[in-house]
């Protein structure tokens, strides 16, 4: 699951829309805001990443920088969607981690009884 997430982050082309568009195209601006917000949201989520916030931030930044030159709005939208997908994956990862920790701590004996296996020896 972790490897899969890293793969999506490293190789997905999440774009950084170029800051200066002298042509005056308005298409870039709302997208730029969206991309910025996506980056911030991912960074926020990355604080609890199992391998550490710094590790996450490095890979997040390189994933975005890798595609800073993408200009096609359709492409950009596709890649922002992929970023949203990574957000959902991270939320699921964190939830599962917490759920499993709680289950292990409070319900282990129950499971042993249900599965009819030896209880943990203390």
């Amino acid at each position: 699951m972790l490897n899969h997430l890293l793969y999506v982050l490293s190789f997905s082309s999440i774009p950084v829309v170029k800051a200066a568009t002298v042509s005056g195209s308005d298409m870039a601006n709302p997208l730029r805001r969206e991309v910025r917000q996506l980056y911030k949201n991912l960074l926020f989520l990355g604080r609890e990443y199992p391998k550490g916030a710094d590790y996450f931030r490095e890979r997040l930044k390189s994933a975005f920088m890798k595609n800073k030159d993408v200009t096609d709005p359709k492409e950009i939208k596709k890649l922002v969607d992929r970023g949203e997908f990574v957000i959902k994956e991270l939320e699921a990862l964190y939830y599962l981690r917490k759920y499993r920790a709680m289950k292990k701590r409070y319900y282990e004996d129950e499971m042993s009884a249900v599965l009819n296996i030896g209880r943990p020896v203390d």
Binding site: L45, Y94, A101, M102, K103, R105
Partner: protein, 240 residues
């Protein structure tokens, strides 16, 4: 889940300075259930309450980000906070429930730091309200609540009248993550501040902690090569 918990050198408690605090997992589930009930338009408003020092406002903010409408921070610090337990908290909750005219109090079944599993029950007793504890399913049906409870050996379904106290168990729901945009939006929501004295609650504890110790360390296992080795070792340490 990753921090190593250490007992204080004087054995009076556990070191909490510098340890990151966050919402009790069972309470996250309680908040989620309350927000879900509001989203289904079965309840009007969700108020998030936390008792403790300034830092607990961060936890209230998380609850607001998850969808609660407003917060109440009951300020307790220093010696009062160290001695604070389920009895004091239930008195505070009972006073607030009356003040706010609440129809439901939803909280986690227990806190994972003290594992008391008492606050919900005590609150219900103080208010003389029915209680649906260890809830794994909650359904509001008019003025009544149907609660499926997790009990030893299975599930129990009860129907209780409101106002009532519910405590959340692990399988009640999947709490939503407090995302950055929601946290930002939640900054506009209000958190009221008050002290236990404002609610007429005395924080004196009837419980004195005598000593806190770490659980005994498990001795490392010894590996043996053959059955003869095993028998020899067992003989050597007097087991056989």
């Amino acid at each position: 889940e990753n921090t190593k918990i250490r007992v204080k050198p004087d054995h009076s408690g556990v070191v909490t300075d510098g340890v990151k605090h966050s919402m009790n997992p069972f309470c996250e589930i309680a908040v989620e259930e309350a927000v879900k009930l509001k989203e289904k338009k079965l309840i009007k408003e969700v108020v998030a309450v936390s008792c403790g020092p300034t830092q607990v406002t961060e936890t209230i903010r998380t609850a607001l980000a998850m969808g609660c409408d407003r917060g109440i921070h009951v300020e307790v610090s220093g010696k009062d906070y160290e001695a604070m337990g389920p009895l004091q908290i239930s008195k505070i909750f009972a006073a607030l429930a009356k003040k706010e005219e609440a129809s439901l109090i939803i909280l986690g079944k227990q806190a994972i730091d003290d594992d008391c599993n008492q606050t919900g029950q005590m609150t219900a007793a103080l208010l003389d309200w029915p209680q649906g504890t260890f809830a794994s399913e909650v359904t509001i049906d008019g003025e009544k609540v149907k609660v499926v409870r997790e009990i030893d050996g299975g599930l129990e379904t009860i129907k209780i009248s409101m106002p009532a106290v519910l405590t959340a168990d692990l399988r009640l729901n999947t709490p939503r993550y407090a995302t950055l945009p929601n946290i930002m939006k939640a900054k506009k929501k209000k958190i009221a501040n008050m002290k236990p004295a404002d609610l007429g609650v005395d924080m004196v504890s009837r419980v004195e902690v005598l000593r806190v110790d770490e659980p005994p360390t498990r001795l490392a296992g010894v590996k043996v090569e053959t059955v003869d080795d095993l028998v020899a070792k067992l003989r050597a340490n007097g087991t056989i």
